[in-house]
C-alpha cells in the first residue's frame, strides 16, 4: 500500500487529479505561505479547485483533515486503555467513556477486553486523574497500556481505489 500504483486514465482526468491530491500530499505537503496554490501548480488545476476538492473530501469523511500528525506522548501524555464490559452494559459504558473530553478514540473490539480507547491529558498526573475519573464513573477497572516504544516507520497510508 505504501507504494500503491494509481491506475491512470480509466476514469478520466478528474479522478486522477483527485487521487493524486489525496495520495501525493500525505507527506510532501508544501510548507509555504500558500500551500494550496503550490499543490494546484503541481496538479495543473486552480487553487480554488484544490480548496474545493479538499473541503468536499473532508465533508465526505474521506480525509479527516489537512494538517499535522503528532507523535504520541510528545505533546502531553496519553495511553491506550481497555475495559472488559458485559455485552448488555457495553453501549451505556461506551457512552460514558466517550463523554470524557480526554477520549479521542473509542473502539469496540471482539475480545473479552471489548472497549478500547485512547486517553490524552496535558501531563502524566492529569492522565492518572483522568484514568481514576473514568474508572469511578463507569465502575470498571482500566487496563492501562501506555506506549513504551514506537517502532513504526511512517510511510503514510496510500489510498486504495476500488
Amino acid at each position: 500500500m505504501a507504494h500503491h500504483i494509481i491506475q491512470y486514465g480509466t476514469e478520466g482526468t478528474e479522478s486522477t487529479v483527485e487521487q493524486r491530491l489525496l495520495n501525493d500530499f500525505q507527506h510532501d505537503f508544501p510548507l509555504s505561505p500558500t500551500p494550496f496554490a503550490d499543490m494546484a501548480e503541481t496538479l495543473g488545476i486552480t487553487e480554488d479547485e484544490v480548496l474545493e476538492l479538499l473541503k468536499c473530501k473532508q465533508d465526505e469523511g474521506v480525509i479527516s483533515r489537512v494538517g499535522a500528525v503528532f507523535k504520541p506522548n510528545r505533546v502531553g501524555a496519553s495511553t491506550l486503555a481497555a475495559m472488559a464490559v458485559e455485552d448488555e452494559k457495553l453501549q451505556q459504558v461506551a457512552e460514558q467513556v466517550s463523554a470524557f473530553e480526554s477520549i479521542n478514540h473509542n473502539y469496540q473490539r471482539e475480545h473479552r477486553f471489548n472497549l478500547w480507547f485512547v486517553i490524552t491529558a496535558p501531563d502524566k498526573s492529569a492522565l492518572e486523574n483522568e484514568i481514576k475519573a473514568i474508572e469511578s464513573k463507569t465502575g470498571y477497572t482500566i487496563l492501562n497500556l501506555p506506549m513504551v516504544a514506537d517502532y513504526h516507520i511512517d510511510l503514510g497510508f496510500d489510498i486504495k481505489w476500488t
Partner: protein
C-alpha cells in the same frame, strides 16, 4: 519541555486541521496574535524535534474501504522486542507498531501492530506474514478487530 505555550496554542488552533484558505498560516497567526513567519517557523521546528511526525493530507482509512482494521497483539521476549518491532513497523500494511506493558495473567502481549485491509481474510493474511517474520519469537498472539467506532477525533489539547 519540548514545547512552550505558543507552540501549544498553534497545536490547539490547528489540531482539527489547517484552515482551507489561500493563506492558512495567516489565519492561524491572527488567531494567536503572532506573525505568519513565526507560525511557520515553529511548525518547522516541531517537525525537526519530531513532535510533529508529518504534515499533509490525513486520510481516513476506514472511509477509504479498509473495513477490516485489526489490532494484532503479540507476546515476544522483551530482550528481542526492539529488533522485532522494527521489522514489523516497516511492513507496508502496518500503520502503528508499539511496545506496551503486559499485565499478567490477563494481558500477556507486549507488541502491538495495527493492520488494515479490505476484508478480514486479507487482514488475516497480513497476520500470517507477521507471524512468519516473528517465527519462534512469537509465544502467543491474538487479533482484535474493531466492530464499531464509538468516537474518533484528532488530537485534542485542552488549554491548561
Amino acid at each position: 519541555m519540548p514545547i512552550d505555550a505558543i507552540d501549544r496554542q498553534i497545536i490547539e488552533a490547528t489540531q482539527s486541521g489547517l484552515p482551507l484558505v489561500e493563506q492558512p498560516y495567516v489565519e492561524v497567526a491572527q488567531q494567536i496574535g503572532i506573525s505568519e513567519a513565526e507560525v511557520m517557523q515553529r511548525i518547522c521546528a516541531m517537525q525537526e524535534k519530531d513532535i510533529i511526525r508529518r504534515i499533509g493530507v490525513v486520510p481516513n482509512h476506514y472511509a477509504l474501504g479498509y473495513k477490516a482494521n485489526g489490532m494484532t497483539v503479540w507476546d515476544v521476549p522483551d530482550e528481542h522486542i526492539a529488533e522485532l518491532g522494527k521489522k514489523i513497523g516497516t511492513l507496508e500494511f502496518v500503520s502503528h507498531c508499539y511496545q506496551r506493558p503486559r499485565f499478567l495473567p490477563e494481558w500477556p502481549y507486549n507488541l502491538f501492530a495495527m493492520v488494515h485491509a479490505g476484508t478480514k481474510e486479507e487482514a488475516m493474511q497480513q497476520v500470517d506474514v507477521i507471524a512468519e517474520l516473528l517465527g519462534d519469537m512469537n509465544r502467543q498472539h491474538d487479533v482484535l478487530f474493531s466492530t464499531k467506532i464509538l468516537k474518533k477525533t484528532g488530537l485534542r489539547l485542552k488549554s491548561k
